[in-house]
Symmetry: C2
Subunit: 580 residues, 2 copies
């Protein structure tokens, strides 16, 4: 009988968090216990130097099907595999939003025998970091409306008497929505401030899901508490009537928002199913934000020595590019190797296989050997290997094996990967067998990371390039576009943001993850396309300018039969049921 992820997690023996913290290398004063076998680790630990015997690994993937190709399970499985070959393994992953958990997705703590424990806590509140972001984000939103409300009613003299100045927010230039950590389509676009005297200001606004908040990107990138405070203070929430940026500092709410995020800055320490330390900290979107877990967790882990395996969102074209160009620039840490997760399923899809749709049975092509389809899809794998090469980092291909994969198919992928320049290519069975199923992957990664460097990993572009050139560099060199096309709006915005001083920030491109291009229908390795940039926005607190190439949803909806209908609690044992 095949057990569900939740059954495997609930049957597992969770070790005391003291044991995990000691295994990581922490002293007892360096962390706080926080509920059931979870700790929060003091950011002060990050002040130490990177340990000379540390290895830093980023896990990325080829262009996935809508089902995902097992990047998180590979991250956890590799960590367990490193343990199984006698190396010290640790991982650092993103905290998932609760919204999709109750919508369509179920849990997100890895899967099978490669999971992070405790699984219920991981998928629910954890230590409340996302709730803290919701609170801080909505406090800033309340500060905006409150400022407008009082300014519209009282005189300049009234404000001066109280030692504050009017801000004169342009009501049509507010760029700060409210947030909830939920899938709630009916909050996407709302009118607030209806009512009578004392209930204003009346205006149109909207809600995003909390993980899309700029505060989440800020939390993920903050190097320490001072950096967090400064980044929050730089966040631009609106323009004033003269067109000048209005920051949280201008509204006097930056300090209070930081106070609300004080504990959220402490990374959460959990464990893998096989007892390795597992950091779960921050979870920014991978389109309008950079899609990587926190700088703070990585800094802490790398002071302790051993292999730190982290994961970046979506494929190498998106999450990994942002890992190098945004996260590593901030942290000053560069990886020793990259793992590229591939599946036979996804490669067949790129080779022209029929559509893969969540909730529908997988078409026949994916359930039996089809070398033709697979061979046609290998260009996607080659493109991602080429992308990793741009950053000068050794790459190991991990073929995440499914029961239906044949030896011939697996061999074909391995050979293609090695020919394309991968340092190694191995099949991995961590989902079904845990660390024992990832021995070959762990050995390959250790070899690649331990090998003497011939190149030195680095970001793709120089920050001094103009914004347009940065966009062009990513689109042509990473995505494989022939050129970019800026909308007239994007062109005006670039001119303006460079004038305002945002020109030296890295770019964060929001595009579909289902294609190397901007068009989800273009599978495999499209060429000769023009990459369109519709609009840009500075995330001044996070420290990047994001560019929209397509429609990006920042508030999901619930399906007709939401996952919450199957979730309940055993009132005798307190155990959660139905969390997949």
């Amino acid at each position: 009988m095949r057990l569900s992820d939740l059954e495997i997690a609930q049957a597992a023996q969770v070790e005391p968090i003291e044991t995990i913290a000691a295994r990581l290398g922490l002293a007892s004063g360096e962390w706080l216990p926080w509920g059931r076998n979870i700790a929060k680790v003091d950011p002060a630990v990050a002040r130490g130097e990177r340990h000379p015997d540390s290895r830093y690994i980023d896990v990325t993937a080829i262009t996935p099907t809508p089902l995902g190709e097992g990047k998180t399970t590979t991250t956890v499985g590799l960590t367990q595999g490193l343990g199984a070959i006698g190396r010290k393994g640790m991982c650092a992953i993103r905290q998932p939003s609760q919204g999709p958990t109750f919508g369509i997705k179920g849990g997100a703590a890895g899967g099978g025998y490669s999971q992070v424990l405790p699984m219920e806590e991981f998928n629910l509140h954890l230590t409340g970091d996302i709730h803290a972001i919701t609170a801080a984000h909505n406090l800033i939103a309340a500060a905006i409306d409150n400022q407008m409300y009082h300014e519209s009613r009282w005189s300049d003299a009234f404000f001066q008497k109280r030692g504050i100045e009017k801000v004169h927010i342009d009501p049509y230039e507010i760029s700060w929505n409210r947030v909830v950590d939920l899938n709630d389509r009916s909050l996407r676009s709302v009118v607030t401030g209806l009512g009578a005297l004392a209930d204003g200001p009346l205006r149109q606004g909207g809600f995003d899901i909390t993980v899309a908040s700029e505060l989440m990107a800020v939390l993920a990138l903050a190097r320490d508490l001072r950096d967090l405070r400064e980044r929050i203070g730089r966040i631009v929430v609106a323009l004033d009537r003269g067109g000048a940026p209005v920051t949280t500092e201008d509204l006097g709410v930056a300090g209070a928002a930081t106070v609300l995020l004080r504990d959220a800055l402490w990374p959460n320490l959990l464990q893998t199913l096989e007892g390795q330390p597992a950091f779960v900290h921050a979870g920014p979107f991978a389109n309008i934000a950079h899609g990587n877990s926190s700088v703070m967790a990585d800094r802490i882990a790398l002071t302790q020595g051993g292999f730190l395996v982290t994961e970046s969102g979506f494929g190498a074209d998106i999450g990994m590019e942002k890992f190098f160009d945004i996260k590593c620039r901030v942290s000053g840490l560069m990886p020793d190797a990259v793992v590229l997760v591939a599946t036979i399923r996804a490669l067949k899809m790129h080779g022209g296989g029929p559509a893969v749709t969540p909730g529908r049975p997988l078409p026949q092509e994916y359930c039996q050997e089809n070398l033709e389809l697979l061979r046609s899809g290998l260009d996607n794998l080659r493109a991602h290997i080429r992308i990793a090469g741009l950053f000068g980092v050794p790459l190991v291909v991990a073929v995440n094996a499914f029961d239906t994969d044949t030896e011939g198919e697996l061999a074909l992928v391995r050979d293609a990967a090695l020919q394309a320049g991968a340092a190694d290519a191995v099949v991995t069975h961590h989902h079904a067998r845990g660390g024992e199923g990832a021995l070959a992957l762990a050995e390959a990664v250790a070899r690649a990371a331990d090998a003497p460097r011939t190149t030195s990993p680095s970001p793709l572009y120089d920050l001094s390039l103009p914004l347009e050139e940065k966009l062009r560099t990513v689109a042509t060199r990473v995505y494989g576009a022939r050129d970019i096309e800026l909308s007239p709006l994007a062109r005006r915005q670039i001119a303006r943001y460079e004038e305002e001083g945002y020109g030296t920030m890295p770019v964060c491109i929001a595009k579909t993850h289902l294609s190397l291009s901007h068009d989800p229908a273009l599978k495999n390795a499209p060429e000769n396309f023009i990459f369109p940039v519709r609009e840009l926005r500075p995330s001044a607190g996070a420290g990047f300018v994001y560019a929209l190439a397509g429609d990006i949803r920042t508030m999901p909806g619930l399906p007709s039969v939401p996952a919450f209908r199957g979730i309940d609690i055993d009132v005798e044992t307190g155990r959660v049921q139905g969390l997949f």
Copy 2:
């Protein structure tokens, strides 16, 4: 130099939570550490019997000024005083909302030398219980809109195929707002669901502050996890087109909402400034809900022996009445004594003194001896002593002393209290001097609670009375009204709710706390007034029918200079600044 509450709290030596838990009597497996010197206590402890040497004390107050008369400081100070006289003291209080903390109020962890520690955690996220309620409440709200959205688009057959039935919610009969734990006037009344295809349903709604959620009242009243699950399932969120109640169970979301509140059911254990165990758990409104901390914390504490001091919201007419008629009925626990907090300031106001307004200097009458004004206001004190008598419980008057009170004034109040039937009446200085300042109060309370009972405390009315009679009983016997007057709407609602089976629930009257009557302008002890009941609503999950007598705000606003402007963080030490 006088220290601020925050300075006193930050200078205090916080004891390890292990020490506090052991002092309470808990074994190490009965609680979990949860952050900085906070524990969550396993609800399983509540399965034990009430300890024979336990004493249960409720702290209430006379009708307050808008500044409040120090009920929480007295609760904490008395607990510390019990320690100072060698008795085992514990307290159980409500968790405050974060909204007012950033609005007008500053912290709410007691004050001066009678505080609960750690103070920053107390006033901010604590262990995330209120955030969990926000999440569960808004998940239910999303389930309502999602049901309407999909029902309006897909056929009956579509739903049947998926094993669920249409609910046919009447869009004009939705009684479930959304919530945020913030003061945000512009969310009081909103239109949601604007946009295009996939963004509905379009309707008018609103947000309340989280502590006004029925889920908060449910959490406060739940006897165990099973009871929590059942109460949540009974919550009525809307009516269907046939006028029948729609519950969370009908929407399939009751289980998931309970899962989100699983940890919130574990009471939070903190400590007083002098090291007594202090439970901080649940904080329902005292008007539309019952305004008392959790049944769970009280049950746990009373299994361990010693004095448990708890606090009920507003004056004896409101919070204490609901303590007996709602909370004690559910818990099956009856108090041994009640403490009535009075101040010279409030009594002078009742005697005809000028208005007391937050943020304005106190008028002269309150800063110097004025026996005349004080004497005129004593009727309010007498009325509250009479109210406690209705419940058959011994009462100790605690005169919360201010620097400006004179010996003559204090003696006048003590004498009046004793004449009116108080078991004792003492002056207390816990704010300035901690437990040492509350020795007399502790002695008096211990005497009253230890004395052999001549009466047996009981609720005011029998549940089998019709709703109208219950309302009349509370209004005439407690508030001193001549009679009640039901609006035509209220009359129709009573008939309907009795038909629907809510007739045997207790009533929970929402009225102003600034008068014994429904009219905040009627100070002291008004007589001969007719108490108007405008509207009723069942809180089917909490298990009471609430009645509105006046406008009750369930979403506060922010002032022109909100408290958040003064709140910041020391980026070197991580200490919070400006939290009063």
